[in-house]
């Protein structure tokens, strides 16, 4: 069934942000649905947009990791064709979070203090904030890792969602603007995944992830990275990563 996408109204969004302590209490007192919103605000929290999407229902599990990958793919497939103006709008994600994924949001991240409402449920419109939003991250994590050229186009998505150091990999991509370039994100994930497979978990600490992301930035300091393919970037990143890992082993042996 097709549905119109919605956005939380500007007034509703600003009111909830301003009164985030109340919102926290309301969510705690009403964990199963967000019907309290309209009564709390005194008006309809959402405005309907003209864009249509296939309706979707995300899986729910108290252990959210059990459904995180499938939910990311479902969310991505459902909304990927919407205009960027919608996909990168925090009020759109407020609708998704409060209306379409209310219970899932509570399971994806435990709300342990009121400030988390503003940080992860009512994000700002910055790239980083949207990429870290409690539900929006499922979409963006899939978007930056889906590789149409692979036989299993979601192989890297599964790797970054469920694999070793997946959270740190995603965070590294989030924190650097260059991570928004698809060939960079794919090459970064692929190089870490391949090094992980060859050398195991032990040598792949957070430092190696940070250094590999810095390597990607260094490429862009002289070359036009926008002009490079995943394979070209991968070749550089993997070569440098492997060099650091093998030199690290040598140093340990010495």
């Amino acid at each position: 069934m097709l549905i119109n996408v919605k956005m939380m109204t500007e007034e509703a969004f600003a009111t909830l942000q301003k009164n985030y302590k109340d919102v926290y209490e309301q969510i705690k007192n009403h964990p199963s649905d967000s019907t309290w919103l309209e009564g709390y605000l005194g008006f309809n929290p959402y405005e309907t947009k003209k864009y249509l999407i296939e309706d979707f229902e995300l899986g729910d599990n108290e252990d959210y990791n059990a459904v995180a990958f499938e939910n990311g793919v479902l969310l991505y497939e459902s909304i990927k064709d919407l205009p960027r103006y919608i996909i990168c709008n925090n009020r759109f994600w407020a609708w998704v979070t409060f209306e379409k994924a209310y219970k899932q949001a509570q399971h994806a991240m435990k709300l342990t203090r009121p400030e988390l409402v503003n940080t992860f449920w009512l994000t700002t419109n910055s790239r980083r904030s949207l990429m870290l939003g409690v539900i929006s991250r499922s979409f963006f994590r899939t978007e930056i890792s889906v590789d149409e050229s692979m036989s299993d186009k979601y192989a890297l998505t599964r790797r970054i969602v469920e694999g070793y150091r997946g959270i740190e990999m995603y965070r590294a991509l989030t924190y650097r603007n260059i991570g928004m370039l698809k060939p960079v994100s794919l090459a970064f994930i692929q190089s870490i995944a391949d090094a992980n497979e060859k050398y195991g978990d032990a040598p792949l600490g957070k430092e190696q992830l940070r250094e590999t992301m810095k390597d990607a930035s260094r490429i862009g300091s002289v070359m036009l990275i926008d002009d490079m393919s995943k394979d070209e970037i991968y070749e550089i990143l993997y070569r440098k990563l492997e060099k650091r890992l093998t030199e690290g082993f040598l140093n340990e042996e010495v």
């Binding site: 007034e11 008006f43 205009p83 990168c88 070209e232």
Partner: protein, 302 residues
């Protein structure tokens, strides 16, 4: 993508003369921007790069280098690159993929490794030195322009207000608080007063009154804050959507563009009133008329 003052291990032709390591050569991105008549596309017409360095032109003509135009919009995470020919072209980008700042830049990029890279127009300090260039190295750069694309949903089909009025339960001293961000001026009222405001805001006879006691002081405050920032009007128009709307209203009202000098010298209290239709006089008239209306003039004291 910005190159700015970045130093390269070889000479690059920069559109900014002071950062260029070429003596006289020119590389300059040029286009005319507009929104399509059907409001569906952001158009870059007559898009081309002025380039007069023969060595770089020869590299492009022999397919050893290319001109790449990068279009990016941070707020929609849109970033795409396009290879440009040497002659002008028209390009269109779906408007719904853009919002707020859009940066358009251009580069000449090596398509293969190039040995003995040298131009007679290199700055004198390089003498006869030649360089080894790698594939994808940037050879010329123009950081281009930051434009403001104010995307408005077609289904809204109305001018969005620059104000939002909300309740704030934490206000217990009866004050009205004003904040602004890149999009709107947000006015917070105590919950009880917001509830009253919400029930009465659409009654026409209260419109001037609300403009006088809420909108005028809020706009005056926000403008005064920006005056202290000491930033150019052009930058403020890109950074703050509500200010861009204010500047457009200023032009409609005065007939002249808002200049840096006019903004610095502006009496924000007066300007806020004028731009919002001088609501104070109307508000007093309405209060007077309302009082006469309900008391028959008994409460009127000369």
């Amino acid at each position: 993508m910005r190159i700015g003052k970045r130093l390269f291990p070889y000479p690059i032709l920069n559109s900014e003369k002071i950062y260029s390591q070429y003596k006289d050569s020119v590389f300059a991105l040029q286009y005319d921007e507009e929104i399509s008549d059907d409001k569906q596309y952001y158009l870059l017409n007559n898009l081309h790069c002025e380039l007069d360095n023969q060595m770089l032109i020869d590299l492009i003509n022999t397919d050893r280098a290319e001109i790449v135009c990068v279009i990016e919009c941070p707020s929609t995470m849109y970033r795409k690159s396009h290879v440009l020919p040497l002659h002008p072209i028209n390009m269109q980008i779906p408007l719904a993929d853009l919002n707020n700042k859009v940066n358009v830049s251009a580069f000449v990029v090596a398509k293969e490794d190039i040995d003995n890279y040298h131009s007679d127009d290199f700055s004198d300090v390089y003498g006869d030195i030649s360089f080894s260039i790698e594939k994808h190295d940037i050879l010329a750069a123009d950081d281009g322009y930051v434009n403001n694309v104010d995307f408005n949903d077609l289904d809204d089909n109305k001018q969005a207000s620059i104000f939002i009025v909300i309740k704030d339960k934490s206000i217990t001293n009866g004050t009205m608080q004003v904040e602004y961000d890149s999009e709107k001026i947000t006015i917070s009222l105590p919950e009880e007063q917001w509830n009253m405001y919400d029930k009465t805001k659409r009654i026409p006879k209260y419109e001037s009154l609300y403009f006088s006691i809420i909108a005028v002081p809020a706009l005056c405050y926000a403008l005064s804050c920006l005056q202290k920032n000491d930033l150019a009007v052009d930058i403020l128009r890109i950074d703050y959507k509500w200010f861009n709307s204010f500047a457009a209203a200023y032009k409609n009202f005065h007939g002249d563009e808002l200049t840096d000098d006019a903004f610095i010298k502006m009496n924000t209290n007066l300007e806020a009133q004028m731009i919002l239709g001088s609501p104070v006089a109307s508000a007093v008239d309405e209060i007077f008329g309302f009082t006469i209306g309900i008391s028959g003039g008994d409460e009127y004291v000369d």
